[in-house]
């Protein structure tokens, strides 16, 4: 296996990412942000970066448990809230999603998971209006590439400071930013049902897949070159297939072009246009 070092200069990462949050929030005339705090690592890091960028009083943490959510999730989120000293709200989603679940007795866990992720999105964007803050994204590069997310659910945000960091880099930066140990040490989970863990569901560890993604994406290795570098062929195939099939989650839906100038094709402006 090739020797791969994915470690990052955390001081530099911190400076760039907090600068990004501050710039993107303040340039639209706002000063506040809002983060859905799951109790997991990604949202903890996004929240800590937002606090460093904007100040504790300007970041609202929202916990949105479901009745089956792990009790640890609330506790861990509280650890971070206490450490950062930030305003927070807890809005339970059980009463909102259960009526929808009951409409179909055969509803699958995956459908339930997607509904919960989208319910949380609705709450965050609603609270965004109440708190006058922008929603900070919490998806990391690993899950964005693998499509391990709910489109218009947990993937929805106004900006994402951690979307170009692999999960193992999220861990490294989280340590440098003193995220509470229990959050860093526990098994990553979407916490959509009991005993769910990311690595069990994906079938491989973040440590393994981050290295493969780094070669395929950052270093532009072909799948064959990745196999020659020491990765199992079936694993490489699984991952490359996932990347390709989930491209739709990484894009705005295509618009059928009929006019001379079409949003997305030849009507091209950055979001930061004029700011």
């Amino acid at each position: 296996m090739v020797d791969l070092n994915l470690s990052i200069n955390t001081e530099l990462a911190r400076e760039i990412l907090t600068g990004f949050v501050k710039s993107e929030v303040t340039r639209v005339g706002m000063s506040r942000a809002i983060v859905g705090l799951s109790g997991g690592l990604d949202s903890a890091l996004s929240c800590a970066l937002a606090v460093e960028a904007l100040g504790a009083e300007n970041v609202l943490a929202v916990r949105m448990p479901y009745k089956a959510s792990s009790k640890d999730s609330l506790v861990h989120a509280q650890l971070l809230i206490d450490q950062l000293g930030i305003p927070n709200k807890t809005i339970e989603i059980t009463d909102m999603v259960e009526p929808l679940f009951k409409l179909d007795p055969k509803i699958s866990d995956m459908r339930k998971g997607n509904i919960m992720a989208r319910e949380r999105m609705i709450i965050l964007f609603d609270q965004s209006e109440v708190f006058k803050g922008l929603v900070i994204g919490t998806s990391n590069k690993t899950e964005i590439l693998l499509g391990y997310s709910t489109i218009y659910g947990d993937s929805a945000s106004a900006m994402n400071p951690i979307g170009d960091l692999y999960k193992t880099q999220v861990r490294q930066l989280s340590r440098a930013m003193n995220i509470p140990e229990p959050i860093i040490d526990k098994a990553p989970s979407a916490d959509l049902w009991e005993d769910q863990t990311d690595e069990k569901e994906l079938g491989f560890t973040y440590e393994e897949v981050d290295k493969l993604l780094y070669l395929l994406v950052d270093q532009r290795y072909s799948p064959q070159e990745a196999v020659e570098a020491g990765f199992d062929e079936a694993f490489v195939k699984t991952v490359t297939t996932r990347i390709r099939r989930n491209q739709f989650k990484r894009m705005q839906p295509p618009i059928a072009k009929v006019s001379n100038r079409t949003v997305g094709y030849d009507f091209l402006y950055l979001r930061d246009w004029g700011t």
Binding site: N5, S7, I8, N9, L12, A13, E15, I16, G19, F20, S23, E24, D164, D266, F267, L268, Y269, L270, R271, D272, W273, G274, T275
Partner: protein
Amino acid sequence: MVEWDSLENCCRLRSTEGSNPSLPAQNPKGLKDLWGFYYGKIRSMKLNLALAQINTKLGDVEANLAKHLDYIKQAKSEKTDLLVFPELSLTGYVLQDLVASAAHKPMEDDPIFKHLLKASHDLDLVVGFVDEDSRHRFYIASAYLSGGKLVHVHHKVYLPTYGLFDEGRFFAWGDKVRAFDTRFGRVGMLICEDFWHASPPYLLWLDGADLMLFSSASPGRGLNDNEKLESARWVERVNKAYASMFTSFVAHANRVGYEDGLHFWGGATIFDPNGEELAHGPYNEEGLAFSELDLNQLRRTRARLPLLRDERTNLVQNELNRILSRG
């Protein structure tokens, strides 16, 4: 202010016999190998150079002009002779469909440039802008302004259109790399990708530039466990290399701030003809980097290391002709 002796006489060395005749071949009038002569005749030639690493508002030229005038005022109070702004400093970088509306002409009747030309009575200026020619082609451009006049415009000759860059889609390609005379000697300007290629700095060197002014809007990329981003390391490495290989002053002004997810890293640098760093602006922060350039260093370095004198331009020309005529 600079005390002007003749840079022609003191700093440029003759090309080798039989070299490209376009190379400047001065006659060092009456130079004698006497220490007393040098002490007596060669006056101190200093240039107070400042590099502005600013953030910009995307497409808002008036707001960016106001920031330029603020920085000019500040630089003037620090007795700056020449102030260099980054690439597209008047417009912002990822302009896309804003290109046409952000374009200006570096002329006195232009509502933006009239202020900059006026300011150039106090100190020389290099500003980044979108230049529109008479047939409505748009260029990424740098203008050198001095004494209320436009001295030179450079149009970016290499438009990166790969990876995260899409300049070739929106801009016309410049087709000239020319040095030009200023009150501080002969100068060359390049814009970002221009100096990622070795040929434009080389051409400026042969065309007589002793001071190279580079400007960028360089998006940061390549975060690893190194102290600096890969993009910053690369740019600093080649700037230092050009200063060393061309025994010239090389200054680089890069912008800061964000445009969507792109981050511009700043870190302005000035290298002397020995390749030594004279100034280094901070990363990721707006500010001015200053250095007093001792232009006599050109002479001292080139007396020790006559790379310019020995450059075999005819050989280069012959081999280029052969290579380019193949097939």
